[in-house]
Symmetry: C2
Subunit: 219 residues, 2 copies
Amino acid sequence: MQQLDGRRARGDESRRAVLARAVDIASVNGLEGLTIGRLAAEVSASKSGVAALFGTKEQLQLAAVETARGIFTASVIDPARIQPRGLRRVCALLRSWIDYSAGRVFEGGCFFFAVSAEFDSRPGVVHDAILRAVDERDAFLVSSIGHAVDQGELVGITDTPQLAFELTALIEASNSYSLLRRSAEPYEFARRGIVSRLQAYGADTTVLAKTGFMDPLPG
Amino acid sequence: MQQLDGRRARGDESRRAVLARAVDIASVNGLEGLTIGRLAAEVSASKSGVAALFGTKEQLQLAAVETARGIFTASVIDPARIQPRGLRRVCALLRSWIDYSAGRVFEGGCFFFAVSAEFDSRPGVVHDAILRAVDERDAFLVSSIGHAVDQGELVGITDTPQLAFELTALIEASNSYSLLRRSAEPYEFARRGIVSRLQAYGADTTVLAKTGFMDPLPG
DNA sequence: CCTACCGATCGGTAGG
DNA sequence: CCTACCGATCGGTAGG
């Protein structure tokens, strides 16, 4: 029993180590550019060893998406969830999202930006898994804004999904431009755009300032 | 001489036909997913025939970027350029840009969105060529906004690149979401966001209406 | 422009 | 988990 547990624990640990490298490779080279042979070499394992851990390349891709989802949740969603519902949570979410992109939690910037662009016009289970993860993220932003509206911290909003779309667009564009131009300046554009949008709906400047949105970002 | 011209014309025509297919494949599968063998099969040529036309895969990728740049210019920039400088040109540009994405001028949506995401964190001449094309596009938007400001058609703008960034972000996000969700609704989000931004700077509603920005997009 | 070929790498499997 | 192997495809070239 202890032997079995030991073996299972070793197997899980192998998977974890392989997937930790896999999501970084995929964020740079895409989920198609993530090859079993290269992945194996980088974690000093045999190709068939890695292949056996996942079965098929598609299952490796799905496991990578799931791993990335967990990392995104831990880096972006969880820091927002510990804030009280309302404007503070919205600001915390947007701030941790920018920091996650700017801090290169994944080597190639936001994992979901990279693989969404890669699979956006292809059918299949990998596309579907990416879409589910993105939908979950977007739903959290929409509901967070909804709480702020309910509490009267944002006024005059007639279309919450519209605002969520605009805020998401600013962050994704800053991720893309920062990577392409190797510059941190685009995050400053995103920050200013976010402040404009939120102030247009009467957001309390004190709350924005507390989340660091009123001052230029470092770097 | 007529024979030589005939041969040269045939060679140019071959290149054109191959590149026309290449940019569509790349918009869906990326410039790495664009393989010489598949491309040859799709245009009913031999692999070595296609290879000989370009020399190396990297040169094929560069030729594809250049071809896509020409198609983008013809589809998006030229229709704006025939409008007089000022707000009308800005609106025409944003409108033809959305139509180009929504109309799937490239099979996989905006070519430059797809390949920017693919090469954003990789070094090399292909990255550099993509960046130059994107920079040229962005510079045209910035200067178009600048004319509208100079003519007093947009007032209170303190940071033109900031506005250009926000408008670009809206269009690129609508391209991405439309492809990923197989829906035209994201373009409606982009349209509303653009109208909000321009109206905040006092844009004449009549001009916005003439460009079709005041009514929901068809489809 | 073609056929025919090169070595390398792809995803995947047999057998242990 | 490994070695050893499969057929297919990759980018590229020789020779015509």
